[in-house]
């Protein structure tokens, strides 16, 4: 089931949460709404679910306008950040809930309910916990039960609100992979909200990067990472260094850096910002070409598998380079050394000229 989001506006009092959001979520895909706190991603998710109303705009499920349908009629599965399991019911009763509250006419028999619930518990690998209470389960287990409960009513779409936010780092990683595998198995259209870019990049088929109530970019993880459409997207995904300078007819000059930007050939003397990812900075002891800048190593920080090197440029600016441990060990860099940094890939954005 595909979802069309057309020109959604939503404000809370004077605060604009969503501004002219237009989006298509293709059927069967696992889509991430990624962005910092307050960007509107959770609001958008809740609007899709019907838990919030829109000020203007439409939501279409499979081409049908559901904007004014009640939550109950939308058949969405919602998984909450803090699970919202009914603590006075057993795991089994929680998962069976959606089936048991159906009106007489459409309610399955107890036998059917039992079989369906056990199937789902098997799917989430928790059938042995059927008789236990939520308080007796771990966080990761609870989240899987919450998922099973949402799936029990055979929803058209699965919505997850920061589903792994309340879990330990280790459990989070395991569940991430588990969710991906689950989706590969059942192919239900899914939308999940996260502020963790690693999570989005790892799990989602498609990422919607949001900021301040607007969509910055939509694309696969490769697309948003390799070809960020805006400085925000570039900044949000991965660590980035900024260089301020000027752009003139396809040539950007920032400090000791000269970059060719043919896409900006028509620009006349405008302020520009060059973005270089930390791991796109090469450190060499000799100047290999004109793109390299002189720098001194200020600080070396070892972070497990990577090493972060903080350097000071000639003009006093500080930048960060990220090396693998292997690279670092091969080069044997020392604090205080004078080296040359060369960016492998630079993306230049010209600032909007304001008169």
């Amino acid at each position: 089931m595909s979802i069309e989001i057309e020109h959604i506006h939503k404000s809370f009092g004077t605060f604009t949460a969503l501004s002219d959001i237009a989006l298509t979520i293709p059927s069967g895909e696992l889509v991430a709404l990624l962005g910092p706190s307050g960007c509107g991603k959770t609001t958008l998710l809740r609007i899709i679910a019907g838990l919030e109303t829109v000020d203007s705009g439409r939501i279409l499920f499979n081409g049908q306008d559901t904007t004014s349908s009640h939550v109950r009629e939308r058949r969405v599965g919602f998984v909450f950040q803090h699970y919202a399991l009914f603590r006075h019911m057993t795991v089994f009763e929680n998962v069976a809930f959606g089936l048991r509250v159906r009106p007489r006419a459409t309610r399955p028999t107890e036998v059917q309910i039992r079989s369906k619930v056990m199937d789902l518990l098997r799917l989430v690998q928790l059938e042995s916990q059927a008789g236990r209470y939520p308080a007796q389960l771990s966080g990761g287990q609870r989240q899987r039960i919450a998922l099973a409960r949402a799936l029990a009513v055979e929803p058209q779409v699965l919505l997850l609100d920061e589903p792994f936010g309340a879990l330990d780092a280790r459990v989070r990683e395991e569940l991430r992979r588990w969710l991906r595998r689950l989706h590969d198995e059942i192919h239900i259209t899914s939308v999940f909200v996260t502020h963790d870019q690693e999570e989005a990049l790892e799990v989602a088929d498609r990422i919607v990067v949001m900021n301040k109530g607007k969509v910055e970019q939509v694309g696969t993880s490769d697309e948003v990472y390799e070809n960020p459409a805006t400085p925000f997207v570039l900044n949000f995904l991965g660590n980035v260094n900024l260089f301020h300078g000027r752009m003139h007819e396809g040539q950007a000059t920032m400090g000791g850096l000269q970059v060719d930007s043919p896409e900006h050939a028509g620009t006349q003397d405008a302020p520009a910002v060059a973005y270089v990812r930390s791991h796109d900075l090469e450190i060499d002891r000799s100047k290999l070409d004109s793109g390299a800048m002189k720098a001194a190593i200020k600080h070396i920080q070892k972070l497990g598998p990577t090493v972060r090197v903080t350097l000071t440029l000639e003009d006093g600016e500080q930048i960060e380079a990220e090396l693998t441990r292997e690279q670092f060990q091969n080069q044997g860099l020392q604090q205080g050394e004078a080296v040359y940094v060369r960016p492998r890939q630079v993306r230049v954005f010209v600032e909007d000229y304001q008169i």
Partner: protein, 276 residues
């Protein structure tokens, strides 16, 4: 004892404060209460039973406990309603009503007593409409129940209110997403969560009503065997210098109070069975 020392030595004053606390508690509360027990122990078992099961005494139990039970049920029902309405809805005057709930707590019992007696008397504001309908409130067990509803009112409301306030929104949202209609959500998700607190409030209201004196004696008929509450019986016996009788009955009431305390404790323990 060393574990004792290690934990309590950092902050000072443990010894003196605990000592004073226990001392004051013993002198003011425990000693006098034990006097009751000892005095009753002066009776033989046979005498004791005879006193506490005399017809007039039994009648007073029926009146007191019966009215208290009925009043507690009414309070349980309206208490939940009030707690819900005060927490979930917005209406003009809500804050004033919320503050007013504690009136039975703050108003002296004698004042409540004479006021209720006046309102429900045959010429009172309410009584004058009820009497033609054949409903006599003042000087009947019904009046006792009305007074007990008054004094028990805050107990259920104040016990249930915090629980309603802490219901996570997500639970209701989850239920709706799963297809439950409003009534189902209330019945299957919310009510079970409120139930222990309702029960606790009920027990508290009941216990309070049973022991109450001042609010009731003015509106009750105080006729032996018909509308005489047990606390009044105790006072009557005291005035007749029947100390043994008074203490025996008082003992029964005290035991009931302790029993209620135990029940309330158990309810609260039971209600935490789903907590982590």
């Amino acid at each position: 004892m060393s574990f004792f020392k290690r934990r309590t030595n950092v902050l000072p004053g443990f010894g003196p404060t605990l000592g004073y606390t226990v001392l004051y508690l013993s002198v003011i509360v425990l000693l006098p209460l034990s006097a009751l027990v000892f005095k009753t122990a002066g009776l033989t078992w046979g005498e004791f039973v005879e006193v506490v099961t005399a017809p007039r005494v039994l009648a007073s139990y029926r009146v007191t406990f019966g009215a208290a039970l009925a009043a507690a049920v009414i309070n349980a029902f309206f208490g939940v309603l009030l707690a819900w309405v005060l927490v979930r809805y917005r209406f003009p005057g809500r804050r004033i009503v919320d503050a007013l709930i504690d009136l039975p707590f703050a108003l002296p019992t004698a004042v409540a007593g004479i006021t209720l007696a006046t309102i429900y008397s045959s010429i009172g504001w309410v009584g004058r409409y009820l009497e033609p309908l054949g409903i006599k409130v003042a000087f009947t067990p019904l009046g006792i129940m009305v007074a007990m509803v008054f004094i028990g009112l805050p107990f259920v409301v104040r016990t249930v209110q915090p629980v309603v306030e802490e219901i996570e929104v997500e639970l209701e949202e989850a239920a709706v997403c799963l297809g439950a209609n409003r009534l189902q959500t209330l019945r299957l998700v919310i009510l079970p969560l409120l139930f222990p607190s309702i029960l606790t409030g009920f027990a508290l209201a009941f216990a309070r009503a049973v022991g109450e004196y001042g609010s009731i004696i003015f509106i009750a008929g105080n006729m032996p065997m018909v509308s005489e509450i047990t606390p009044l019986l105790i006072i009557t016996k005291l005035e007749q210098f029947d100390y043994r009788g008074a203490t025996a009955i008082a003992c029964v009431m005290l035991l009931t109070s302790f029993l209620m305390l135990l029940v309330i404790n158990l309810i609260q323990r039971w209600s935490r069975r789903y907590a982590e």
